[in-house]
Structure formats: structure tokens, C-alpha cells
């Protein structure tokens, strides 16, 4: 007959009157902690956070729609150039407004004159490189270009920085730099399939705005009221769907489905999946040393 459970001690040095396989039910796994740092997600805040991903996907779809329109001569390059310049000016004004209303601490400012100088330099560089870029992939088959472009845009979408807090001003995250490079590279190889120098120039200029400048603006916009985020997401999504609809019904449905899934379905799945979260902590975990 074994002694009372209360007499058993969780020690190894004392010889106890219990067999080695004795398990005291009242003490076993008492130090087990489940989901220690768990804070449950709610649906609408997640939808709002997913807007960043939706916006990014919408910009990719928007770019593809513009590329197809340029290639099929359904869009005049000059019109796109004016639209790009208008978007750039609107974006810059919005940036200045955000700077005024939501000043960022510790971020070094680039003067307006420098901004103008950099913009002009980029504009002229792209204009000068357009003839070179146009013949960049002349020896490559279109199938290879579409495949390469698809891969690069996938990399761009996967590695993009969707976080609501901006990384340290001095250094962007490596993944987001790779992401931007992938998108620009993809734009360059797609632009090289266009027939006119101006088309190439305008498309790459447009891609720089979408994949280099817009993500920076998007980060800044995440401190603004939620309604602005929602409106921007809706405008971008609607734009890409409206531009794609006349070109391909299949693509339109795919885009619509992708945007709806990312914005509304995925957050729902995450909220539902939380009930299966089972993070186990206990004395066996590597302790975190605390320094004074």
C-alpha cells in the first residue's frame, strides 16, 4: 500500500516509498503554461491590417493591366506619363501633409530642393536608358519573360514589408529591399517587350512610383485614421479590377477573388484557427536571462 499522495516530493535526492514510475496526479504538469503571451485577434482589426497586403497586390495587378494596355496599344504612353506625374505630385503633397500632421521623430528630412533634384535625375536617367532597356531581352522568348516576371512579382509580394511600424530610418529591412528590386527587375523585363522607347520609359517610371515610392508612402499612411486606409484599399482594388475587366474576364475574376480572400477571408480563417493555438511553456524551456 502506497503512502498518501501528499507525502510525495518532486526531488531526486530523497529515497521515497514510491515506485520510479509513480505519477502524482496533483503535481504532474502543474508548471505547464499554455499560450502564455496569447492575445486573441478580432476580425475587423485584422481586416484593417490586411489592407496593406491588398494594396500591394492591387498595385501589382494595376501595373500588369497598364503593361497589357501599353503592349496592345490600348493606352497612349503620354496619357500614362501625365497620370504618373499627377500621381507623383499628389503623393508628394500627401507626404508633406502627413509630415505636418504626424511628424516622425528621429527621421532625417530631405529638403524639397533635393527631392526635386533626385526626381529630375531619375526622370532623365530613365529617359536616357529607355533605348537600351527596350532591346534588353530581344534574344529571349516571350514565354521565358512571362515566367521570369511572374516569379519576380511573386518574390516581390512575399518579401514586401507589410508591417505597420517603419524600420529604423537608417536601414530598411533586407527583405523589403529585395522585394523592391524584384519588382523593378520584373518591370524592366516586361518593359523590354514594348515596341516604343517612350512606352518603355513611362512604364518603368510608373513601376518606380508603384514599387519604390508607394510602399514608403503606404508605411506613413498607416498612422492615419482607419477610414483613409480603407478608402485607399478600395480605390486601388477598384482601379485594378476596372482596368483589367475589358482585357480578360478570367483575370478579373482571379484578381477579385484574390483581393477578397486576402482582405476578408484570410483574417476570418486566422480568427477561427486561434482556437487550435497550443503553445506549450514550462520549466524545460531555455530561460531568458534578465540583466539589470
Amino acid at each position: 500500500m502506497l503512502p498518501e499522495d501528499s507525502e510525495w516530493e518532486k526531488v531526486l535526492w530523497r529515497k521515497q516509498e514510491y515506485p520510479d514510475n509513480y505519477i502524482p496526479q496533483r503535481l504532474f504538469l502543474t508548471s505547464l503554461r499554455k499560450n502564455v503571451n496569447f492575445s486573441p485577434y478580432t476580425y475587423w482589426p485584422l481586416v484593417l491590417l490586411s489592407c496593406a497586403i491588398t494594396q500591394h497586390l492591387a498595385t501589382i495587378f494595376l501595373f500588369l493591366a497598364v503593361f497589357v494596355r501599353l503592349k496592345e496599344r490600348l493606352l497612349d504612353a503620354r496619357i500614362l506619363l501625365y497620370i504618373s506625374m499627377a500621381i507623383f505630385l499628389a503623393g508628394y503633397m500627401l507626404w508633406e501633409l502627413l509630415d505636418y500632421h504626424y511628424p516622425e521623430h528621429g527621421v532625417s528630412r530631405i529638403g524639397r530642393s533635393k527631392t526635386f533634384k533626385y526626381s529630375l535625375l531619375l526622370f532623365l536617367t530613365l529617359m536616357g536608358l529607355s533605348p537600351v532597356l527596350k532591346t534588353l531581352t530581344a534574344a529571349t522568348s516571350s514565354d521565358s519573360i512571362w515566367a521570369l516576371s511572374a516569379c519576380l512579382f511573386t518574390v516581390n509580394a512575399l518579401l514586401a514589408d507589410y508591417s505597420s511600424s517603419k524600420p529604423a530610418p537608417s536601414r530598411g529591412r533586407l527583405t523589403s529591399v529585395i522585394s523592391m528590386n524584384a519588382a523593378i527587375s520584373s518591370s524592366v523585363v516586361l518593359a523590354s517587350r514594348l515596341s516604343d522607347d517612350l512606352d518603355v520609359f513611362v512604364l518603368i517610371l510608373f513601376s518606380v512610383q508603384l514599387f519604390a515610392l508607394f510602399p514608403i508612402l503606404r508605411h506613413r499612411l498607416q498612422v492615419t485614421p482607419s477610414i483613409l486606409q480603407a478608402v485607399l484599399t478600395f480605390v486601388l482594388s477598384a482601379s485594378c479590377i476596372i482596368l483589367t475587366a475589358p482585357l480578360s474576364t478570367t483575370a478579373t475574376w482571379i484578381y477579385t477573388a484574390a483581393l477578397i480572400i486576402v482582405t476578408f477571408l484570410a483574417p476570418g480563417v486566422l480568427v477561427w484557427a486561434q482556437k487550435y493555438k497550443n503553445e506549450i511553456r514550462g520549466p524545460w524551456d531555455v530561460a531568458v536571462p534578465r540583466m539589470s
Binding site: 535526492w13 520510479d20 534578465r290
Partner: protein, 442 residues
Amino acid sequence: MVSDFFHPNVGGVENHTYMLSISLIRRGHKVIVITHSHPPDRVGIRWILPSLKIYYIPFPTIASSATLPNYFTFLPYLRTILLREHICLIHAHASLSSLGQEAILHAHLMGVRTVFTDHSLFGFADAASILTNKLVAAALKNVDAVICVSHTGRENTVLRGQLFEKSEYDPSALSVRQNVYVIPNALVADQFKPATEPLPLDTINIVVLSRLAYRKGIDLLVAVAPRICAAFPNVNFIVGGDGPKLIDLLQMRERHLLQDRIELLGPVRHSDVRDVLVRGSIFLNTSLTESFGIAILEAACAGLYVVATRVGGVPEILPEDMISLANPDEDDVFFALTRAIEIVAMGKHSPMEAHERVKNFYNWNDIAERTEKVYESVFATEQIDLWSRMQRTMELGPFAGPIYTIILVVDCLFFVFLEWWLPRDDLDFVMQQWDLSITGVR
């Protein structure tokens, strides 16, 4: 005994396997060890004193002396060895030992019973742990008994290996299997005798013997040592060991100008551990995770008062009057060391008494006897049939279950092929054993 971790490597598992084998031989059992080879020439059969036969299987290692899990290539070797040597029980050691896990998989084909000893603690969150835990769970689904070296270790292994079954009283509830045992590590107390001459109380040496790595809490040591040196001018540190954190210790010593107060010994051979320990009065262990902590036991046996972090199985191994436990927090470790210094300075700690107590707590004869009882309980139970093994294996999950079940079935087919290819009758059975009277083992 089957494990990837064995002599000539040095470590806790290696020493445990060796000492347990020797103790079982002394109790009249036949014990052999199966491990992997060590380049350039440690391959084949070797004998080590007093009378332990070791099979070094020619498998290359991938990392930390562990072989790559390959499941089937080990079967021809294992089958031949088990049949030749008339082995009736396999005792596998260490979660990260592929040979051990594979031996458990193959053993049932020859009617050989299986016991597994887990020596380590693993988390559940990182990728390495998730993979390792799934491998362990697969191995332990069909093992006859599991031994853990601490109660915390048992809790960890039960969770990792999913060692639950339907409760006898309430079929809807789960209870822990009755084949999970706690048998601690032990030590040869005579190898850790305290210094014959009592140490002077005017100078107190704190000894640290550890691999100088993050998991051993060297960051805490780096933070605490200068504070102790500043607070107690008569206290010095003796640090033995090597590892990536050595540079941090050197920098700390230089920054605080403590070259004359903190002695860094570098790597210390196991045979020299006792000589280093007896130079001090306090042993400091700042590990961030520890299943058992044999180093703590060795220090206590050598007569040192112990200060250790309250992690893993450490709180279980010594009574409260022999150890001061601290949270893995710089201030708490500092206060625990302060208490220890006061205890030692006031002569409240007796090294010889500590040695005698540890000698009584942990000895290999007792551990071997308790392990023997586990073996007996295994032989008293029915062997799990193939169908039950397959059903148990399928419980691993929707992905791992079918994969491991296929491995189990293919293993059986491979065994049938080997029975035809290399019939038992053609094997060269081992008839003679080491003459124990020559080595005076008894």
C-alpha cells in the same frame, strides 16, 4: 545499450551509458554497447575495461556526434549483432541519437524488448524541436519503457513523446502511461573527494566549470562576476571551460581590471575536474536549461556549496541546505551568491558532510538496481504485436502517421528479406564472454 553518444566522446550521456553498463555487468548481466564509428580507425569491435564490448558501426556523423536518421541501413548490422550476442533487451539513450531511435524501431522484429532513456529537455516552439519531437514521438509510440533523469524531464518527455493512454477509470480522459520512470544520474563519489586540508576562510574561491555557451548562462556570469568582486574583495573566480562566450569573459575581465581576481583555465579534462573543484568553496552554475546537471552533483560531492539557477531539473537534485537557487536574473544570482559567501565564510557548510550525503543520494549500484527493476517490469508485460504497433504509429497524425507506418511495414519486409538472405543458422554466434575473474569486476 545503443546510442550515438559514447566513448571516445566525453559528455553526460556518454558517461551515463558507460557507468550504467559497468554497473549492470557487476550485477551479473551481459551488456554490449552499439554506437557509431570515429575516424580514422575507431571502427569495428573494441573492448574497454572492466569488460565492456563495444560495436562501432561504420556510420558517418552529421552534427554533434549524431548520425543521420536513415532507418533501414542500420537493420542488417543490428540484426546480426543482436542475434550473435543473444541480446534480449535494447536500452537506447538520448533523443538526438538516430541509432537509438532506429534500434527501437527494429528491435520488435527479433522479439527484443526496448527501453529508452531521455537525458535532455527540449522546447516545443522552434523548428529543430518540432522536428526532433516528432521523431521522438514516433520512436516512443512502441517502446516498452521510458526512463527520464528528472521529474521535470519526465514531464517534458511525456508531452514530447505523447505518452498518454485512455484512463482506466474514465475512458474519455487521458492518463500518463505507467511505463515512464524517473531514475536519476549518478556519480562515482570516490572520484570527487573534498580536499583533505580545509581551505582558508579569508579568501573564497567561486568555481565555474561549464561549456562557455549562451545556454549555460555565461551572460549572467559576465554580469554578476564584476559585482561580486566589487562587493567582496576576498572573493575570486576560477572559470574552467571553453566555448564561444570565452571572448565575453575576457572582455569583462579586461574592462573591470580583474585579471588577478578571475582566473580563466580554458578547457579542463574530466580527469582534472576534481582538482579544479577542490580549489574553491562555492560552485556557480548559471545554466538557462538543464535536465539534471551532473556538474552540480560533482561539485557538491567535492564539498562545494552550490549556487545554481532555478531551471529544468536543477531544483530536484540537492536538498535546500546544500544549494542556493536563483532565478535566471542578474540581481537574484548576485543575492544568491552573497548568501552563499556568508554561509561559507561563517563555516556553516561542511565539505566532508556534503560529500557523504551525495555519496548516499546518488550511487551507480542503486541506479543499476532501479534500472534492473524497469527491465524486469518490461519482461513481465506482453510484447506489442505488429498490428497494435501500426495502430499506435498511425496516431502520430495525418501526415507523420502514414509515413511512419509505411516505414514500419517496409522495415518488416526488409527484415523478412534479411532472414532469407542471411539465415540465422549461418551466423557466427558468440559463445565466449570476457573472463570476469581476470579483471576482478566482481
